[in-house]
């Protein structure tokens, strides 16, 4: 009694016999499927998490700072059409003095109403509680900062508030949707050791800063159909006489913009790499299965001879493929889900989301599975169609030998230019040009996707090199609470350990060309600046021209301007004029978009005496601690950004995210590459078993036979590398272009070592496959292949 039909038993046994190959193909599919599942899954989860976080904690839509505005103004703001909620508060930057911590740290102080949670930008209390009414010394701090200093409820630290040192006690540790990504003054990266958000009682802050009955920061929640631009315009008009800086929306809110950029990079990565991976995998299984089915030619002929119908034979092989694809899809979905969770948690940790919303994406699984299956079936059917066209009598015979041609004049043969194995290899490649081409294409794609995954690491290093070592070469940036006269530079220069000091003035502006507009900072710097240098698009330092504006080349692209064009500028500080300035240079920078001007030119433009917002300094490393101590006693200073720390933070934070993602993709690319090469080697062994067996009969040793087989693999592998490099560069370019954004970007650098490494990985896969094939050649008694024809 047979429980399974004989054909299904054959199917099952064939799968067992070909398990290594079936697994290799399944892994290629898994590689393709898991990238898609991972990328889409993590992205959707993070996006949903952010939406939920923003909603549950009432993250505001519009933000504005003022010098001092009466609270009565809030009622007028609430009456602006489209405004759903308004919250006025006090927001001030102040230096912190933390026990056993030498470096100066900065706190962004935010006032809390006496009745607890604010209406907008509500806190997520991780530990402890909100300050009690009337307790001016109780504060809630951000979790990152608390963790960096091992602060728990009950810990103490001091702050210099408006020139007076004040002792504070931590009562709560919190997260806020407004400060998911918190960057200290003058800094480029978050530094949780040295920058904190500190929430404390409004009464206490108001009395310190003399802001009773007033506010210095306002945030607005909009109604669903409100026009952000319209509300901002009206808000600006209301705040203008109270020293308001131009209001801005979420797009320009630091935390939101950085988070958006992080998600955007992930989004672009997931829109670029996984589809490529999936398509490559689909192409590879298509080619591979087509070859495997072609090998079954004699059995297909036999089944037909026995009276099986074409459809039954085809269905038999399609079932074979469905099983392999299913295994691949299951492995891929499991690995993709696991990796997706890992990536979601990694990003969740990085952004300190209070919770994560994991989104299941059945549509992605189905789409990835369907594409893999379709590619596999099309490949198999292509081979089946060719075989089924043959009468069974012909199909049961081995295929007629292809017609080979002499490639070189006969004299070469006579002169023994090439050994016979080499001739066999050359003829075998030229005799099956399509097969050779597909094999080369497969391995090129493998090399290509490896390069596309590997180059990110090199690009990150290029970004670091240009930003931290060519352009911004200062050791530290001292930022002031408010703009200071130029002589403040001399004050700083006299501090202990200062070797050089350069002024830096920053003015917020709106820059416009036609209807394209961006809110940026224009920095004024000395033309001969040696610390804050300007690097042009050819990576040479340039001197700022005496007039006009230098722009980030990225910004120039956005605005569609070139050197020589004029752009319109709304100054958002001081007299708030609108001026027109010529673009005089384009600058290579990778963080943010900005304008740069000659220091004196900016002062003239602002119609002010030369002033600074910060001072870039170079430090004597031995005097660093004395410098820190001196800074801590300066009430005009809001913070110090340390270049060395910023770079370290960049490396451990953002770079880790990007490189971890890159490494995941590298791993999956390696799996795909190995699957392809291994299958190529195994299939050529099967295809040529008879020929190789004949050689054994003629007296060739196993080693010689192996060499003939592997010579072809080696030649194809090597031929595949140059096109692989071109494909890899193309993919890297695409990815680079898609991942570049206003907040961060880099120039495309594909190091020579990247090409070498990608090729080395494919060649290693080839070597490993060669070892496996050698074992099979040694195990097979090739002589019997000649006797039987099954």
């Amino acid at each position: 009694m047979i429980l399974m039909r004989a054909l299904d038993i054959k199917l099952f046994r064939d799968l067992v016999r070909l398990w290594a190959q079936a697994l290799a193909i399944a892994l290629v599919i898994a590689g393709g499927v898991s990238t898609v599942v991972l990328a889409v899954g993590s992205l959707r989860s993070l996006e949903e998490t952010r939406i939920a976080y923003y909603e549950r904690h009432q993250f505001a839509d519009i933000f504005a700072l003022v010098r001092r505005a009466p609270k009565t103004l809030l009622t007028q703001i609430a009456e602006i059409p489209g405004v759903a909620a308004v919250q006025g508060r006090i927001a001030k930057l102040a230096l912190l003095d933390i026990p056993q911590f030498r470096e100066p740290a900065t706190g962004q102080f935010i006032s809390l109403r006496e009745d607890g949670q604010p209406a907008l930008n509500r806190l997520y209390i991780r530990l402890g509680r909100m300050p009690e009414p009337g307790r001016g010394d109780e504060v809630v701090v951000t979790e990152g900062f608390a963790k960096a200093h091992a602060f728990k409820p009950g810990s103490h630290f001091a702050a210099i508030l408006n020139g007076r040192k004040r002792d504070l006690v931590v009562v709560g540790i919190a997260l806020s949707p407004e400060f998911i990504y918190a960057i200290g003054p003058g800094d480029r990266m978050p530094d949780e050791r040295r920058f904190a958000i500190v929430w404390m009682s409004e009464k206490a802050l108001a009395s310190v800063y003399d802001l009773d009955g007033a506010f210095s920061s306002v945030t607005l929640k909009l109604m669903r159909d409100a026009s952000e631009g319209e509300v901002i315009k009206r808000l600006d008009a209301l705040l203008d006489r109270y020293g308001g800086q131009a209001a801005y929306g979420r797009k320009d809110q630091t935390s939101h913009a950085f988070l958006e950029h992080g998600l955007d990079m992930l989004r672009n990565m997931s829109r670029t790499l996984p589809p490529i991976f999936l398509l490559v995998a689909a192409f590879l299984i298509n080619v591979t299965l087509s070859r495997i089915v072609a090998l079954e030619r004699e059995q297909i002929g036999l089944l037909k001879a026995l009276g099986y119908r074409n459809a039954a034979v085809a269905w038999h092989y399609i079932k074979f493929i469905i099983v392999i694809v299913t295994i691949g899809v299951v492995i891929g979905s499991a690995a993709g889900t696991w990796l997706g969770t890992f990536v979601t948690e990694m990003y969740g940790d990085f952004y300190r989301f209070p919770f994560l919303v994991f989104v299941q994406s059945p549509d992605v699984y189905v789409a990835a599975a369907a594409l893999s299956l379709a590619a596999a079936i099309v490949g198999a059917v292509r081979a089946l169609r060719d075989i089924m066209r043959l009468p069974p009598a012909v199909a049961m015979q081995p295929p007629a030998p292809p017609r080979f041609r002499r490639l070189l004049p006969a004299t070469f043969a006579v002169r023994n230019v090439l050994s016979q194995p080499a001739v066999m290899m050359v003829r075998n490649i030229s005799g099956h040009p399509i097969r050779a081409l597909f094999t080369i294409a497969g391995m090129s794609l493998a090399t290509g996707i490896l390069i596309a995954s590997l180059f990110l690491n090199g690009t990150m290093e290029a970004l670091i090199d240009v930003t931290y070592f060519m352009s911004d070469r200062q050791d530290a940036t001292v930022s002031f609470v408010e703009r200071r006269p130029l002589k403040a530079v001399n004050q700083i220069a006299r501090l202990p350990g200062i070797l050089a000091a350069e002024p830096f003035r920053e003015v917020p502006v709106r820059i416009r060309n036609g209807n394209i507009e961006r809110r940026i900072m224009i920095s004024g710097r000395p033309p001969d600046a040696d610390l804050n240098r300007i690097i042009d698009t050819d990576l040479h330092p340039v001197e700022l021209p005496g007039a006009g504006l230098a722009l980030s080349s990225w910004l120039a692209q956005i605005l569609g301007t070139q050197v020589g064009d004029f752009v319109e500028i709304d100054l958002l500080e001081g007299q708030r004029r609108t001026v027109s300035l010529p673009v005089t240079a384009l600058v290579e920078d990778y963080f943010g978009i900005q304008g740069m001007m000659h220091f004196d030119a900016l002062a003239r433009l602002m119609r002010e005496a030369p002033a600074v917002n910060s001072v870039s300094v170079s430090l004597d490393a031995n005097e660093r601690d004395r410098f820190y101590d001196a800074i801590k006693s300066m009430p005009t200073v809001s913070g110090v950004a340390l270049q060395r720390v910023s770079l370290a933070n960049f490396r451990d934070a953002l770079a880790v995210l990007v490189t971890t993602m890159a490494n995941i993709y590298i791993g999956l690319a390696a799996v795909i590459a190995f699957g392809v090469v291994y299958n190529s080697a195994r299939i050529s062994l099967s295809e040529r078993a008879r020929e190789l067996a004949s050689l054994r009969v003629l007296g060739f040793t196993r080693g010689e036979v192996l060499r003939i087989l592997l010579l072809e693999l080696a030649v194809l592998t090597l031929l595949a590398q140059p096109p692989g490099w071109v494909i890899g560069y193309g993919l890297a370019w695409t990815l680079q272009t898609k991942m570049a954004g206003e907040l961060m970007r880099s120039r495309l650098v594909v190091e020579h070592s990247t090409y070498v490494l990608a090729s080395a990985m494919v060649i290693a896969a080839a070597l490993f496959s060669a070892l496996v094939v050698r074992r099979r050649i040694n195990q097979l008694d090739l002589v019997t292949v000649l006797k039987t024809r099954d």
Partner: protein
């Protein structure tokens, strides 16, 4: 006279191999009757296998007509030929052509599953004396045993004709004789028409008729007055 099973009229087959044209069958005429054992003898390339393949519906003729029990095979399409093979013909090939991943039993079941009135696989294997080894894989069987599995597979569907292309070609004489014995046994017990292609002239003694092939034509037909038993064969 027994019923006519096959009749061929001017059957012609031309192969194109590269730039050369090979005339495998030249306007061949032939009649085969029910219950006959026919041996086809002749040198390589004389057209024996080509004829057998066309008779078995494995290949198409270039011109001429071939009838099976009055039905014209030469105008059947692929689907028609498949049905014909499925219902009427059993094949035995020189190289057995067993599915290596299936046991003897399963190889036979492969055919019984798609036939209308098959015998049980173990029954078919018993007929060729292989019931004790029916759960062995081809690789665990000797050449002769493998060929007998192929015969069991061919007869399990109770075909009208059994077409054997060099069934002993890969076997030594002793196992070859057992295979011939099995074929004659089927002919005797089931009345199946058996056509055997061979290079081995001594096998002709078991046949009712012997067809001698040369250059794609039947050059001579010999009728044995008395068939010898397989056991009496010597080669």
């Amino acid at each position: 006279m027994a019923d006519l099973v096959f009749s061929a009229r001017a059957l012609t087959k031309t192969y194109t191999s590269g730039e050369t044209q090979v005339l495998a069958l030249r306007a061949l005429d032939l009649e085969i009757f029910a219950g006959e054992v026919v041996v086809l003898l002749g040198p390589s390339g004389s057209g024996k296998s080509t004829l057998l393949n066309i008779m078995g519906g494995l290949d198409h003729a270039t011109s001429g007509q071939l009838f099976f029990k009055g039905q014209e095979l030469t105008n059947l399409d692929d689907r028609g030929l498949t049905a014909y093979r499925r219902q009427h013909v059993g094949f035995v090939f020189q190289f057995y052509n067993l599915i290596p991943s299936l046991t003897a039993y399963e190889n036979v079941a492969l055919v019984t599953e798609i036939s209308d009135h098959p015998m049980r696989p173990d029954e078919a294997l018993a007929l060729v004396g292989l019931k004790p080894r029916m759960h062995h894989f081809p690789a665990q069987l000797s050449g002769g045993e493998q060929q007998r599995v192929a015969i069991a597979r061919a007869i399990a569907k109770r075909p009208e004709v059994l077409l054997c292309d060099e069934p002993t070609g890969a076997l030594d004489s002793k196992t070859g004789i057992r295979v011939i014995e099995a074929l004659l046994g089927i002919n005797a017990q089931l009345g199946t028409t058996v056509l055997i292609i061979t290079h081995n002239a001594s096998i002709q003694d078991v046949a009712d008729r012997v067809l001698f092939f040369a250059d794609g034509q039947i050059s001579r037909i010999h009728r044995n007055e008395a068939r010898r038993a397989a056991a009496e064969l010597v080669w």
